[in-house]
């Protein structure tokens, strides 16, 4: 069994959720999942989900290598405007390849 897709994970403030969805749609990814992050701490301080501005989400997509490269290029543009996004990418295996692109 070989890895056949990339899992792109983005931790971002929930205020930017709509922006991330628009970006994914623009790049044409086949799907995504959004999970609320209850609490966390990092370079931008403690996040406790007390309000929208204090809540992070995990925006996750499983996509092809080509789509991943497009997403990275677009995310870099957002990061260049100082938005604190955290991105990490894993190799992954999916059984239904046609559903993940």
């Amino acid at each position: 069994m070989e890895y056949n897709r990339k899992q792109v994970n983005i931790i971002v403030n929930s205020a930017l959720e709509a922006k991330m969805v628009r970006l994914a749609n623009r790049v044409g990814v086949s799907g995504y999942s959004i999970t609320p992050m209850r609490t966390g701490q990092g370079s931008t301080g403690l996040q406790t989900s007390s309000s929208e501005g204090d809540s992070n989400i995990l925006f996750m997509m499983i996509i092809t290598f080509d789509k991943m490269e497009q997403m990275i290029a677009e995310i870099q543009k957002i990061k260049d405007r100082s938005y604190p996004l955290r991105v990490f990418i894993n190799d992954t295996y999916v059984m239904d390849e046609k559903d993940f692109h």
Partner: protein, 328 residues
């Protein structure tokens, strides 16, 4: 001013939440409950405002709206000058924090109403309208300050001004953020619906209101206590600002409410609280979008961890005392 003025359930539940975190209790609210409670409270206060508006006279109401706009635009500019020019705080952090202090905290306002109710003190209904109006202007000022900050940084670095968030999208954010939509929407509904038809929902929003406020403040007490460890990052200048800016704001509110609007003690006190409070619900997400260069831990720590507890415990009795001394 005496200690009994603090003996209202909402304040004590706030203290209980704060204490629970300090003693490392495992007390925890279900995820998203505070957000749910704040929706109830905003609709409740909107309905109260709408009923008040339906009985209000046009000219005083218009005057209150104008005063709210003046406060909403002037306070963040004053806060920005204080932070950036006097306190030498970074230009982006100054802009983002200033926007929070120009907007208002519905939670603080509701505690102030509970405070007045506990003493049987009457008040004008116009501050309820001002609450809804004052949510938005500071967000717009925050964006304008951010545009100014970026142009200053670009000049300093000899760069062209980097692409910034458009005025259109921030205006959209300022005028359509959840708090504003709920407050204005509920106000409009209560204004339009005949009093007899409104009776069916009044018990839900009126009789339960103070109980729900207690729950909300219990959670906010826990949230405020969680931010305590963040203070060391904020530094002395910001901590001083977080305590003195509300007092300055309250004094500006006092001048506006007494000399311009001619309110009674209760009304003057409520406008002081509006001008003294800092937003921790509506503005943080807007500033996340508008000024990503600013450090969110500064504005969240200051507004929720410092200014909100200060206003609830010290500010509210203090502002009332000042209003009473001047107006009474």
């Amino acid at each position: 001013m005496n200690l009994s003025s603090l003996l209202i359930p909402a304040v004590l539940f706030f203290a209980l939440g704060f204490l629970a975190k300090l003693i490392k209790s495992d007390l925890k609210f279900p995820d998203g409950m505070a957000k749910g409670l704040s929706i109830f409270l905003l609709i409740g206060i909107g309905i109260k405002g709408g009923v008040a508006l339906s009985q209000a006279e046009f000219l005083p109401a218009l005057n209150s709206v104008l005063a709210a706009l003046v406060l909403g635009f002037a306070t963040p500019i004053l806060a920005f000058v204080w932070l950036n020019k006097l306190g030498k705080v970074g230009i982006f952090d100054s802009a983002a924090i200033a926007a929070h202090y120009g907007s208002v905290s519905a939670g603080t306002f509701l505690v102030a109403i509970a405070f007045l109710d506990s003493m049987g003190q009457t008040y004008e209904s116009y501050p309820l309208i001002m609450l809804a109006i004052m949510e938005s202007p500071a967000i717009i000022i925050g964006l304008l300050l951010a545009i100014y900050a970026r142009s200053q940084m670009a000049k300093l670095n000899n760069n062209s001004d980097p692409e910034s968030i458009s005025m259109k999208s921030l205006l959209h954010e300022a005028l359509t953020n959840g708090s504003v939509v709920l407050l204005l929407g509920a106000m409009l509904i209560a204004y339009l619906v005949p009093a007899d038809n409104l009776k069916s929902v009044i018990p839900f929003y009126k009789e339960m209101f103070m109980g729900v406020l207690s729950l909300f403040l219990l959670e906010m007490g826990m949230e405020a206590a969680k931010k305590i460890n963040e203070f060391k990052k904020a530094g002395l200048v910001l901590i001083t600002f977080g305590i003195t800016m509300p007092i300055v704001g309250a004094l500006i509110g006092l001048v506006v409410a007494h000399y311009w609007l001619g309110f009674s003690i209760g009304g003057v006190f409520l406008v002081m609280v509006l001008a003294a409070s800092a937003s921790y619900i509506a503005v943080p997400p807007a500033m996340r979008m508008a000024i990503p260069e600013a450090n969110p831990s500064y504005y969240l720590t200051l507004t929720l961890g410092l200014t909100f507890p200060f206003n609830v415990v010290v500010g509210i009795p203090l502002y009332y005392h000042i209003a009473q001394a001047l107006v009474g």
